[in-house]
């Protein structure tokens, strides 16, 4: 028993060390590449893309389910985006409220017989509506499909552009977000098949008429911690993975894909829990099996602002779902692990996700349990425990502060001194007890997956109209 506890404690220590070193490496890569990206931005003028007759058309697909409170603002925001060739497809996914009526009134929708080719699976369509106010707007009214994936698939079937940009109807895109996300495609249109954009936390910021007016840090601790998590995940994690063409997730709230490729892999899998991760994994598999030369890129500057859960219950549900989604993708793709034909994805990206994302709650919570057990049996080395605590805490805060630094020296969206001070202080506070709570949610997610509990549990949201600075 004592031997077991000793081995378990040491395993936990080395696991933690490896995990933090991996993130430290990513932080260094991200700092370097962000600086290069900032410089490269000086080379091109976004206005040139906006004026170009050769800019490839983009179809924005925004699924909406019971969004009566925010749909007008959200659609207006999408129509106001800077891009020369844009079609906006809002998919009303069987809303039971007045979502469709709101759009009908605001945008003077009329029933049309637009082209709809069901190349990917989706629930039946009730009707297609074109706006008289802005003909770029097409509304697909469909039977409820029970998932976002099903709604996006309907949008894909109606899309007529070579690129599709999938966004959440309750997110706010910055005006030039599409121009910025198109830069990698214009650089290398033959190889770049998808581009992910950055998602930032909207809570606390000031919104006016669907447009972000002022960026502020949210008031609640739970929301501020999520800001740090998002900065770490996007500005460090995705930035670094994308450098090695190993990006496995493009957030469902804002991502751009080549339409023909999404259709070729069968669109979104309606039964998947993490549909965004699932799609990118299938795209990698499809292209690697075809031995195609391709790139999936990440651009840190096109900003999409989204509302993060503001209560523990909703946050817990979200994280449980993310963990279920992770397993739901990793398990069917386990055959990609360490197979040469799947290149770096099979050799690095997926093993990393298995070890440091999927098993993280098992290792961390298991480690805590063995430490408590060892302490209760009187076999815990006090020195080891103390060292472990100090080291783990200090190292983790380096990564968190590093992500704040990355934000500071590159995009600097939090201008207020108070905001930065709070952001930095939460870098020290997030590791206890939030991190442990987070691990419990993730473990619950795994448990739910094995129990077959795949039900969609709604998250409490305020809607973008009401997200205002205090």
């Amino acid at each position: 028993m004592i031997r077991f506890l000793d081995i378990a404690n040491h395993t936990l220590f080395w696991y933690y060390l490896a995990s933090n070193f991996a993130y430290l490496l990513m932080l260094m890569i991200a700092l370097k590449t962000s600086a290069a990206h900032q410089r490269s931005l000086e080379s091109h003028r976004l206005s040139w893309i906006n004026d170009s007759p050769m800019a490839p058309p983009i179809a924005i697909i925004a699924p909406a389910h019971n969004e009566e409170g925010s749909i007008r603002v959200a659609v207006r925001n999408l129509l106001e985006l800077d891009y020369p060739e844009l079609e906006v497809i809002v998919v009303n996914d069987g809303s039971e409220d007045r979502t469709l009526e709101e759009m009908r009134e605001e945008f003077r929708l009329r029933l049309v017989r637009a082209v709809y080719i069901p190349e990917v699976k989706s629930a039946p369509v009730r009707g297609l509506y074109r706006s008289d106010v802005d003909t770029r707007l097409l509304v697909v009214d469909k039977e409820p499909g029970g998932s976002k994936a099903d709604a996006v698939n309907a949008g894909l079937n109606a899309a007529n552009s070579p690129y599709v940009c999938v966004v959440d109807a309750d997110s706010v895109l910055e005006r030039d977000a599409l121009l910025r996300i198109m830069v990698p495609i214009l650089e290398d249109p033959k190889r770049v098949v998808a581009v992910g954009g950055i998602i930032r936390v909207l809570n606390g910021s000031e919104i006016q008429g669907g447009t972000l007016r002022r960026v502020r840090l949210p008031r609640k601790s739970i929301e501020v911690i999520q800001v740090i998590e998002y900065l770490r995940a996007f500005l460090i994690g995705r930035e670094a993975w994308a450098q090695g063409n190993m990006l496995t997730i493009i957030s469902g709230a804002f991502g751009l894909f080549r339409t023909d490729l999404v259709r070729a892999v069968g669109g979104y899998r309606a039964s998947s829990i993490g549909e965004d991760f699932d799609l990118v994994a299938r795209m990698h598999r499809h292209l690697l099996e075809k031995r195609a030369s391709y790139q999936i890129r990440f651009v840190p500057d096109p900003m999409c602002w989204t509302e993060a859960p503001s209560d523990l219950k909703s946050l817990g549900r979200q994280r449980q779902r993310w963990q279920k989604g992770l397993l739901d993708v990793l398990w069917p793709n386990r055959d990609m692990l360490f197979r040469p034909r799947y290149g770096r994805i099979g050799s690095f990206a997926l093993p990393y996700l298995w070890i440091f994302e999927l098993f993280a709650p098992v290792f961390e919570l298991g480690g805590i349990a063995t430490i408590i057990l060892a302490a209760s049996l009187g076999v815990l080395s006090r020195e080891f425990f103390l060292q472990f605590l100090i080291f783990g805490y200090a190292f983790a805060t380096v990564i968190s502060i590093g992500s704040v630094l990355q934000e500071e020296i590159t995009y600097k969206r939090y201008n207020d001194w108070q905001d930065v001070a709070r952001l930095v202080s939460y870098c020290f506070l997030e590791h206890f007890p939030y991190r442990q709570m987070h691990m419990v949610w993730r473990l619950q997610g795994l448990w739910q997956y094995f129990r077959g509990d795949f039900a969609w549990k709604p998250l409490k949201r305020k809607g973008i109209q009401s997200v205002q600075a205090p």
């Binding site: 080379s43 049309v112 082209v115 009730r126 297609l128 003909t135 100090i390 630094l405 930065v420």
Partner: protein, 405 residues
């Protein structure tokens, strides 16, 4: 008394872990200090800069006209940077008269000479900043210094020079860039090169033609894309040579450029390109045929309406709808194709343009169309479906497996 470090050191057997702890804490402290100091410095710097900008703005006309001696601010780097930035910002936003005045000011005050000197003699980021600033002045005398920097070993310097040349937006800079890529090939990322060439060649796209003819590989693709972007009606006939080119981009560029050329030859070649095996070449050709707005294009547009690619079908439909002729005969021909996907594309374009009512009215009042044909067309327009037995064999194409809602 033992220090805290000595006590910590005695705690555990692993010196590595303790060192790692110390390193992590030091890293935390350094990161925090950096953020704090940077914020403080920037806050002070911007406050000072704002105040000085305000002062200089009050004296702007005197500064530009030289009433305030140039030496009074040129010797102070802080003031010089502010004046230069203000002048360049104003220069980029001003009309012809004001920009001439500002260019004269930049020359007389020696700012351009200084930037030329820095672009040649400085290194690192100072040189890069000078190159971009020099480009922003749009002064022709800055082009040789920028062109020299294009041949630098450092990619970042080459990119800065490219940005600078792009900012000049003059054909002479375009010539320098083209001569350089002709000599060195594609040794910078495609997008900055494309962007700079578009800005420089927009006035004189002919510059590109010899280079496109002789370039190879990815460079040819980039130049082809630039040509497609800047091509004007005047270039139409020069582009005919690319109609049969191996490079898809060039054929597409040729198709696009010919949208303004009214010559009969261009029309025939567009018809040929509308049958190209590559979809985006067909797409460009169909769009160009649509822009010609001529009834002669109708057969090609109708063929485009039955294309296997949905984008081509939609663009062909839009072009047919936008033709400034009577719609009823066109609609009759669309129905006669027997292609329900084509019909749908046409109806979509019709509804998008809000012209359905107009077509209904035309059909109602038409005396040229026989009554039974008219009834049939009205029914097709009303239901959106072709009468039974009228679907074309071409519909077997996998891209056209349509289900109409």
């Amino acid at each position: 008394m033992e220090s805290i470090f000595e006590r910590l050191w005695k705690l555990g057997p692993s010196a590595f872990v303790l060192k790692a702890i110390v390193a992590a804490i030091v890293a935390d402290a350094l990161l925090l200090a950096f953020i704090l100091l940077r914020r403080t410095y920037r806050k002070r710097y911007f406050a000072r800069r704002d105040a000085r900008v305000f002062e200089l703005r009050q004296q702007w006309d005197a500064l530009v006209s030289g009433k305030i001696p140039y030496e009074s601010w040129r010797k102070k780097p802080f003031d010089r940077r502010i004046v230069e930035t203000m002048a360049l910002d104003a220069f980029e936003a001003s009309g012809a008269g004001e920009s001439a005045r500002l260019l004269k000011f930049l020359r007389q005050s020696g700012l351009i000479e200084k930037r030329i000197f820095e672009a040649r003699r400085q290194t690192g980021w100072r040189r890069m900043r000078s190159l971009v600033a020099l480009g922003r002045t749009r002064a022709p005398e800055g082009i040789p210094a920028l062109a020299e920097a294009l041949r630098d070993r450092d990619l970042e310097v080459r990119l800065a020079a490219l940005r600078g040349l792009g900012r000049t937006a003059c054909p002479e800079a375009g010539e320098e860039i083209l001569a350089w890529v002709g000599e060195k090939g594609l040794c910078v990322p495609a997008l900055p090169l494309q962007s700079a060439l578009i800005q420089c060649c927009v006035e004189r796209p002919q510059l590109l033609l010899p280079y496109v003819q002789h370039a190879e590989g990815p460079l040819r693709e980039v130049l082809g894309r630039v040509l497609g972007e800047v091509a004007t009606p005047s270039l139409g006939l020069d582009l005919l040579q690319f109609v049969g080119d191996d490079l898809d981009e060039l054929r597409a560029a040729a198709a696009r450029a010919m949208s303004h050329t009214k010559s009969g030859l261009a029309f025939d070649l567009l018809n040929e390109l509308a049958r190209d095996p590559i979809w985006f070449v067909r797409l460009r050709a169909i769009v160009s045929l649509g822009k010609l707005s001529e009834p002669r294009a109708i057969p090609s547009l109708l063929r485009g309406l039955m294309d296997s690619n949905r984008l081509v079908r939609l663009r062909a439909a839009e072009a047919l709808v936008e033709l400034d002729i009577r719609m009823a005969p066109i609609f009759e021909q669309v129905v006669e194709t027997g292609d329900r996907y084509g019909l749908h594309a046409y109806l979509t374009a019709l509804e998008n343009a809000n012209l359905r009512a107009k077509l209904e009215q035309e059909l109602q009042s038409s005396t040229e169309i026989r009554e039974e044909v008219r009834d049939r067309l009205q029914k097709v327009l009303r239901t959106g479906t072709l009468p039974a037995g009228e679907t074309a064999a071409s519909e077997g194409s996998p891209d056209k497996a349509a289900l109409l809602p």
